[in-house]
């Protein structure tokens, strides 16, 4: 297993796209922090990068990588290796290299300019989102054999998590505007890793005071130790569930 992970990681890290991604993050985060007059403003811009670009990059890159290494996977399957091991090592390699790219490109810069709990939170959620979206990509890639369909699904999933889901939440809030929706919203936010990460980061910034009563309820839940623990467990579930499902599918897949 270790050998396959090592091979996948070295293969990905040598990939020009991955290098470009790291360089892009690095330049972007450095310019954000040097352009904004205060580091807290810079953090807000970093928030957009973490919530939009990182998931997009992770999901698309992972899907394409899985499709492109179809022959490599077939070769591995012909060896005396368990399918589960192959698939998990592929995932570990992808998730590991994407996390390394994010840490090298954005995480370190954030921690240099803003070595606070907020900076740490952005870095940690960024790593989590990288891993979560490569896990979702594994699931998307294993369900269809057609490459175009698979990549399309991946993009749609990204669109769903970053845009459509929030649209649905907005719709729900308006439909049920006569009811106290603050507490149900906590539950709803657990169903989207991007929303969950955004709320976790925002509550670490002082702008949480702006969110009024809603913010106060959220702080009561997400601000406490148990709340943070629960949110990270949910984020972990967002990794474990798609990967587990995809392993089951891959085990029975006719290659």
């Amino acid at each position: 297993m270790q050998k396959i992970i090592k091979y996948v990681i070295t293969d990905i890290l040598r990939n020009k796209i991955m290098l470009a991604y790291t360089a892009f993050l690095l330049i972007l985060s450095f310019s954000i922090f040097s352009l904004e007059d205060s580091p807290s403003k810079g953090l807000l811009s970093m928030l957009n990068i973490v919530l939009i670009i990182v998931p997009l990059m992770s999901i698309i890159f992972s899907t394409i990588y899985i499709y492109n290494s179809a022959e490599f996977i077939e070769l591995l399957v012909s060896q005396p290796l368990r399918r589960k091991t192959i698939w998990l090592s592929l995932f570990a390699g992808l998730a590991g290299s994407l996390s390394i790219a994010f840490l090298a490109g954005a995480g370190i810069v954030v921690l240099i300019y803003e070595p606070s709990i907020t900076g740490l939170m952005i870095t940690v959620t960024g790593v989590f989102l990288s891993v979560i979206f490569s896990a979702i990509a594994m699931l998307a890639a294993v369900t269809t054999r057609d490459k175009a369909k698979g990549i399309g699904t991946a993009i749609l999933l990204w669109l769903y998590f970053s845009l459509l889901f929030d649209g649905l939440v907005l719709f729900l809030l308006f439909q049920f505007s006569d009811y106290p929706m603050e507490k149900p919203m906590i539950l709803v936010s657990l169903f989207n890793p991007i929303d969950l990460s955004r709320i976790l980061i925002l509550l670490k910034m002082d702008i949480s005071a702006m969110m009024g009563y809603t913010g106060a309820i959220f702080k009561d839940f997400f601000g406490t130790g148990t709340g943070i623990l629960i949110s990270f467990i949910v984020l972990l579930l967002w990794i474990v569930l798609p990967v587990g499902l995809s392993v089951r599918k891959f085990n029975n897949k006719d290659l």
Partner: protein
């Protein structure tokens, strides 16, 4: 003329003001004794030391002066000094351990129905109410430092509390850790100037039913709920700083039922809402700087004829928030850092109007849980679409002449 001079001289000779000294090696050992022996116009000088005077009542117009801040300690049972005469001066004391009661408003210095009282250069520590004026007229409260360690609103008093007073001058005091820094109720024709009010648990300045007052060049920082100005008219607020009032219900200034007032040249920085106006009429807000606030101005539809002119709006999350489509207020010649228009004729004013209300802030006002989507992709997308084709934001809430460059304020 000669006769007049003679009479004047006689009067003068007849009333020589004496100086009575209090201290360890002085004729008087306690302040109470010296005050009892003094006549109108005398000066009582108190030397350094700690005095337990219980409740010191001053019923004559005398000058009470402390050398090197002698301590008057009320043992947490009494009021330190009660002023019950006109023309009293209290200068240079350290007052501490005022009694706390839920029936009587004990204060370190309390002025009862008196005129021309001067309270200067005192340090007041751990008081219930700091300086309290009840039916005071023409009193001067200057250069005092008040600090307390209030924990909750029920068991704490206000720093400088004026009730039914007139022509008060509150100048250059520093107030922290009280319930309200400065509290005005039914106070008229007064001025609050160059005070510093911070870390109070409720309001930095609390102002009710007080007409024709001015507050100028004060700093209100980090108070529980900022500054509240309510049910008053003819209030002038100039050159003040309102800073870092962060919290669920914290405002730079809360304006409620305010009429015919002026808010000019103030600085608002890092407040949740810099100005929250409800039922405010005929108010001129001019040349203010709004920087780094959550909402710069929240102006409810119940306000009318509020004019915002020549203000700078910089780095606020939302510039203007409102709750209805009715707009009876005027926005003109402000600088908005979010303005994306152009200026073809180079007259310094943008050619297309600026609409400072974003769709998201409108929605959040109507349906607060929507704040859960704060800073998400969809809300910024919505705002951009709304900017191009306004549909939900009030059509008339706009600045027709937005400035291209910030004003030098």
């Amino acid at each position: 003329m000669k006769i007049l001079t003679l009479i004047f001289c006689c009067c003068y000779l007849g009333s020589f003001a004496r100086i009575l000294k209090v201290g360890r090696q002085q004729p008087y050992a306690s302040v109470t004794a010296a005050v009892a022996a003094a006549d109108n116009g005398d000066t009582v000088i108190v030397e350094k030391g700690v005095y337990f005077e219980k409740n010191l009542v001053i019923g004559k117009s005398i000058v009470l002066k402390g050398i090197d801040h002698p301590v008057l300690d009320a043992e947490k049972k009494y009021e330190n000094i009660s002023v019950r005469s006109n023309g009293v001066t209290i200068d240079g004391f350290l007052l501490q351990h005022t009694g706390v009661s839920s029936i009587v408003d004990f204060a370190a210095i309390k002025i009862y129905n008196s005129r021309n009282v001067t309270v200067i250069n005192n340090i007041i520590n751990d008081a219930f109410f700091g300086i309290y004026s009840q039916y005071g007229i023409h009193c001067l409260i200057k250069n005092n430092t008040l600090s307390a360690k209030a924990k909750n609103e029920q068991e704490s008093g206000n720093g400088i509390h004026c009730w039914k007073s007139d022509s008060m001058q509150i100048i250059a005091n520093t107030i922290s850790g009280h319930r309200d820094g400065i509290y005005f109720e039914f106070v008229t024709h007064s001025v609050i100037w160059r005070n510093n009010s911070f870390h109070n648990i409720r309001y930095g300045l609390h102002f009710m039913f007080s007409n024709e007052d001015a507050y100028i060049s004060n700093i209100f920082e980090n108070n529980g709920a900022g500054v509240a100005v309510m049910f008053s008219k003819g209030v002038k607020m100039f050159n003040n700083y309102f800073k870092e009032n962060w919290g669920d219900a914290a405002y730079g200034i809360l304006l409620k039922e305010i009429n015919d007032s002026y808010i000019e040249n103030n600085h608002f920085e890092k407040n949740t809402s810099a100005i929250y106006a409800e039922g405010a009429n005929r108010i001129l807000m001019k040349k203010n700087v709004f920087k780094n606030n959550g909402w710069a101005v929240k102006i409810q539809a119940s306000c009318s004829e509020v004019t915002l002119e020549e203000n700078n709006f910089l780095e606020n999350t939302f510039d203007i928030g409102t709750n209805g489509s009715l707009v009876l207020n005027r926005f003109n010649k402000n600088y908005w850092d979010k303005y994306e228009g152009y200026d073809l004729n180079k007259d310094g004013e943008g050619d297309i109007p600026y609409r400072p209300v974003s769709l998201y802030s409108m929605i959040a006002e109507k349906n607060p849980p929507v704040m859960i989507l704060f800073r998400s992709f969809i809300t910024s997308l919505m705002d951009k679409t709304e900017k191009v084709i306004p549909s939900l934001t009030p059509e008339n809430l706009k600045d027709d002449h937005p400035l291209m460059k910030p004003l030098p304020l």
